[in-house]
Symmetry: C2
């Protein structure tokens, strides 16, 4: 029986990352988000060492590196994102081989399909995504509602484009997922308290 | 605070009706499926009496009428389905006024939107829907896989068409729902055991 792998795809502002992080905490498994994976894959020299450190620290390790935005990317005329995808995918597979884990973003549901992951899609209605973004903005960064809507569209479009690179399934098609959850109106703690048994139950069924 | 209303939309063969019925049982609320609602609405003279009987029997009443397919429809040159929609919608609203309840089908999520329902979408992958249909066929009715696929397409297309009559939201768009659950691989008892606390939790949040 392979490791328990959970993937989280999410709309910008829906709280998908928070759901993922809390869910990993409650289930006691490793958590990786998009930024971590991209950063590590961009410096693929680091990947081995990084994975080794995760492996040593055991399955509950959360590795709080934040060098995603400070990395310089080795010069190339090819779109760095495209170039890095193959490294990322290798990295995702290494993580899935090492331990139970939860991965946010990077189309991990598609890349890891051979590992029989539980695929979660997290979304919300626009008003609630905007309210969430507003409450989370740094003091110096008060974007207007219109600016937030633009950023939201931009990020979600980028994610859709990324998905189109690895699969032809639509990003918001329920068929790609085991569960799609609308976070509108939910307190995230309360939501994860009821989601965790559902995800656990799914793995128990699979392992029967 | 209004009643707790749950609506279930589902793909043919996904087990949505079973999920709905079990969920209503576990939560101790009234259960209505598409056939009941259609039948009652077609004989709208019956509706008052029917609703009254439900009301008398209290909120856990499940009314096992099965006259859906034996009714003769009063002659009309208008599509009977179109003609009956307004009666159905009135009936849905009466049910929502009377008690907590779970309604399968009839775009109850759209019709009852003012009642702030919890909207569930139930789906599954095609192989699992076919297996489910095969295991549930009467002995005298062994359709081939191809025949089942055709029936599946036909029913789902009818449902999409019905939805298009009452709303412009796509039938399989997660945005229309609070939760979309893929029943593939699930034992229905186990699934409802983990779904029920989630739905309950959502109402508790709403009522805070």
């Amino acid at each position: 029986m392979g490791h328990r792998i959970i993937t989280v795809s999410r709309q910008f502002g829906s709280g998908g990352r928070e759901v993922g992080k809390r869910l990993a905490d409650v289930l006691g498994i490793a958590y990786y988000d998009r930024e971590i994976i991209t950063a590590v894959a961009q410096r693929s020299g680091l990947a081995e060492e990084y994975i080794a450190s995760i492996s040593e620290r055991g399955i509950s390790a959360y590795y709080p590196i934040t060098f995603g935005h400070t990395l310089s990317y080795p010069g190339s005329i090819i779109d760095p994102q495209v170039e890095v995808i193959s490294e990322q995918n290798k990295l995702l597979k290494s993580l899935a081989e090492k331990s139970d884990c939860l991965i946010v973003g990077r189309c991990a549901d598609v890349v890891l399909r051979d590992y029989d992951p539980f695929n979660l899609f997290v979304y919300a209605d626009q008003a609630s995504k905007i309210a969430r973004c507003q409450s989370r903005q740094a003091a110096g960064e008060q974007l207007s509602v219109n600016e937030l809507k633009k950023r939201m569209n931009k990020v979600d479009k980028e994610r859709a484009r990324y998905r189109a690179l690895v699969t032809d399934s639509r990003w918001d098609d329920p068929a790609a997922y085991h569960l799609c959850v609308n976070t509108t109106g939910w307190n995230m703690h309360a939501l994860v308290d009821v989601l965790a048994p559902l995800v656990k139950g799914w793995f128990e069924q699979r392992e029967k």
